[in-house]
Amino acid sequence: MIVSQFLVLSAALFALGVYGLLVRRNAVLVLLSIELMLSAVTINLVAFGAFHDDPLFTGSVFALFVITVAAAEVGIGIAIVLMIFRARRSANVDELDLMKW
C-alpha cells in the first residue's frame, strides 16, 4: 500500500463533499456532505498515522477527535435545522436570504 492511494481517495471524498455542499438545497443533505468531507479528513489522518508509524498514535487520536467533533457538529446542525424548520416550515438553505444588504 502506498500513502497516495489513501490521499487520492480522501481527496475524492472531499471533492464530492464540496460538490454536495454546493448543490444540495436541503440543510440536512448539506450536513451529510460535510460529513463526507470530515470522513476524508479521518482517512487522511489515519493513513498518515500509519505512514509515520507514530509511537503516540497521533493520527488515530486526531481522527478520533475529529469524529467526536463531527458528531457534536451534527448535533448542533440538526438542532439549528429543526429550529429553522419550526419557524419557516422548510429546511432549504437557499431560501435564507433575509440578510444581505
Partner: protein
C-alpha cells in the same frame, strides 16, 4: 506532567461553567447564574495574575502541547475580559425577554474556555479542539432568538460556513501532519527547518488550508461573508462577542501557528496574508460605506479591522528578528485595543437600541439632544475605531503602520498606503454614525421624552463604562496596553 498552577485559569473557568449549570437547578432568580458567571470570570483573573507575577519561566506541559507564557496569559486575560464585558452586555439582553438564561451564560463561558485553551495550545490538535469549543457554542448563541427568522438564518449561515471552514482547517492540519509527522508546533518547526518542506505541495497546501481556516475565524476577505449576516441576525451581545472574542481566538490561532510552527516558511504565508490583509481592509471598508444597519456596519468594520490586524503579518516574509517582534507586538496590541473599542461600540448600539428599539443608523438621530452622554460614548467608540487620537484606536493603527513600515521595501510601503487610504475611508462611515447621533434631528417617529426617560440597564452601563475608561486611558497612555503587547514579543523571539 500536569502543572496545576499553569492550568488554574482553565480549571477555575471550568468550575465556573459547572457552577452556572448547577445554579440553574436552584430555585433562585436566573440572573444569579449571570452573577456566578461574572464572578467566575473575575476569579479567573486571579490565577492569570499569579501566573503572570509568580511564574519564573515558561510552563510547558504534555510534551510541548500546552504552554503558559506571557503571550498565553495576556491573551487569556483578553479573552476573560472580553467574556466579562460580553456577559455584561448579554445580561440585559437575556433578561429582556423569556430567553433561556443559564444556558446562554453556559455557552458563552464554554466558548471563552475554548479561547483560553487556544491561547496555550501549542499543537494542532489542541488548537483545533479549542477552536471548535470557541465556535460550536457561538453557532448556538447566534440562534438564541429562536422566534426571529434573522437569528435563525444567522445561526445556520454561521454554522454551515463555520463547519466548512473547520473542515478545511482540519484537512490542512492532517496534511501538515502527514508532511511532517508532527503535530506540536515545536516539532513541526524543527522538521520544516530540517527538511526544507517549503517546496512540498502537500505541506504548502496544508499550511494554506490552515490559514484559510483561521481566515474564516478572523473573517478575512474572501472568507468573511458569514460575518455581517451573522452579526446582524444574532443577538447583539453575541455579535459583540463574535466580533471580538471569537475573532481574537482566530488571531491567536493564526499567530501561534504562523509564528511558532511555520516561521521558516514565512515566505509562503506572508504573501498570502498580504493578500488577505489588503483585500479585507479594502472590501470591509468599502462595503461598510453602504451599510444602514449599525450592527451590520460594525460587522464590515470588523472585517476591515481584521485586515488591519493582519497587516503586520503580511510583511513577515521579508522580516526577521526585530521586524517579526514588531509585527507580533503590533498584532497583539491591536487586538487588545480593538477588543475594548469594539465591545464599547456594540454596547452603545445596544444602549441606543434599548432606547429607540432599532439599530439602523437613522435611529441614532437626535441622540445628542436627549442622551448626550450616550452620544458622547458613540463618538468615543466610533472615532476610536476610526483611529482618531487621543482615543485608543490611534495607537492600534500606529503600531500597525509601524510594523509594516519596518521594512522600507515597496510591498510594505504599498500595503501601508492601502492601509492609510482605508483608514481615511473608514472614517467616513464611522463619522456617519456619529454625525447622525450628534447632528441630525431626532426622527419624528421617535417619542423623544420616553426614549430619554428609558433607563440604561446597569450591566450595560457598567460594560460601557469599562470600555470608555479603557478607550480614553489607553488612548492617552498607550503604554498601559503596549506593555502587554511588548511582553508578547518574546514569542516571536529567536528567529
Amino acid at each position: 506532567m500536569i502543572d496545576y498552577h499553569g492550568l488554574a485559569p482553565e480549571i477555575v473557568l471550568a468550575v465556573t461553567i459547572a457552577a452556572v449549570l448547577l445554579l440553574d437547578l436552584v430555585p433562585i432568580p436566573k440572573y444569579w447564574t449571570a452573577v456566578a458567571g461574572l464572578t467566575g470570570l473575575f476569579a479567573t483573573v486571579v490565577p492569570i495574575l499569579t501566573l503572570g507575577v509568580l511564574r519564573d519561566e515558561t510552563i510547558t506541559m504534555l510534551g510541548g502541547s500546552y504552554v503558559v507564557d506571557d503571550f498565553a496569559l495576556i491573551l487569556k486575560a483578553l479573552f476573560v475580559a472580553t467574556g466579562f464585558i460580553s456577559l455584561l452586555l448579554a445580561v440585559g439582553f437575556v433578561e429582556s425577554d423569556r430567553y433561556y438564561q443559564s444556558e446562554f451564560y453556559f455557552l458563552l463561558l464554554a466558548s471563552v474556555l475554548g479561547a483560553v485553551v487556544m491561547a496555550s495550545s501549542r499543537d494542532l490538535l489542541t488548537m483545533f479542539i479549542g477552536l471548535e469549543l470557541v465556535t460550536a457554542p457561538s453557532f448556538l448563541l447566534a440562534g438564541w432568538r429562536k422566534g426571529d427568522a434573522r437569528s435563525n438564518e444567522a445561526a445556520l449561515k454561521f454554522f454551515l460556513v463555520g463547519v466548512l471552514s473547520a473542515t478545511i482547517l482540519v484537512f490542512g492540519m492532517s496534511l501538515v501532519y502527514g508532511a511532517t509527522g508532527e503535530i506540536t508546533f515545536e516539532g513541526i518547526r524543527s522538521v520544516v527547518a530540517a527538511a526544507d518542506l517549503g517546496g512540498e505541495p502537500v505541506f504548502v497546501l496544508g499550511l494554506l488550508f490552515i490559514i484559510v481556516g483561521f481566515g474564516f475565524k478572523v473573517s478575512a476577505v474572501p472568507f468573511h461573508f458569514w460575518a455581517p449576516d451573522t452579526y446582524e441576525g444574532a443577538p447583539i451581545p453575541v455579535a459583540a462577542y463574535l466580533s471580538v472574542g471569537s475573532k481574537a481566538a482566530g488571531f491567536v490561532g493564526l499567530l501561534a501557528v504562523c509564528y511558532l510552527a511555520f516561521p521558516d516558511v514565512r515566505d509562503i504565508w506572508g504573501p498570502a496574508i498580504w493578500i488577505l490583509a489588503a483585500a479585507s481592509m479594502t472590501v470591509g471598508n468599502l462595503v461598510a460605506l453602504r451599510q444602514n444597519d449599525v450592527v451590520r456596519l460594525l460587522g464590515y468594520s470588523s472585517v476591515a479591522h481584521g485586515g488591519f490586524i493582519l497587516v503586520p503579518f503580511a510583511m513577515a516574509a521579508v522580516y526577521d528578528g526585530a521586524g517579526l517582534e514588531e509585527a507580533f507586538f503590533a498584532t497583539v496590541t491591536y487586538l487588545l485595543i480593538y477588543a475594548f473599542m469594539n465591545l464599547g461600540a456594540f454596547a452603545v448600539v445596544m444602549a441606543v437600541a434599548d432606547k429607540t428599539g432599532e439599530s439602523d443608523v437613522g435611529s441614532f438621530a437626535g441622540l445628542f439632544g436627549y442622551a448626550p452622554g450616550l452620544a458622547t460614548a458613540v463618538a468615543l467608540f466610533f472615532f476610536s475605531l476610526a483611529g482618531i487620537p487621543p482615543l485608543a484606536g490611534w495607537f492600534a493603527k500606529l503600531v500597525m503602520f509601524r510594523a509594516v513600515l519596518n521594512d522600507t521595501g515597496t510591498w510594505g510601503a504599498v500595503l501601508a498606503a492601502i492601509a492609510a487610504l482605508n483608514a481615511v475611508i473608514a472614517f467616513y462611515y464611522y463619522a456617519r454614525v456619529v454625525k447622525t447621533a450628534w447632528m441630525d434631528p431626532a426622527p419624528e417617529t421617535l417619542a423623544v421624552p420616553e426614549a430619554a426617560a428609558r433607563p440604561l440597564a446597569p450591566s450595560l452601563g457598567l460594560a460601557m463604562g469599562i470600555a470608555v475608561v479603557a478607550v480614553i486611558l489607553v488612548g492617552i497612555f498607550p503604554q498601559l496596553l503596549a506593555f502587554f503587547g511588548d511582553a508578547t514579543k518574546a514569542v516571536a523571539f529567536g528567529f
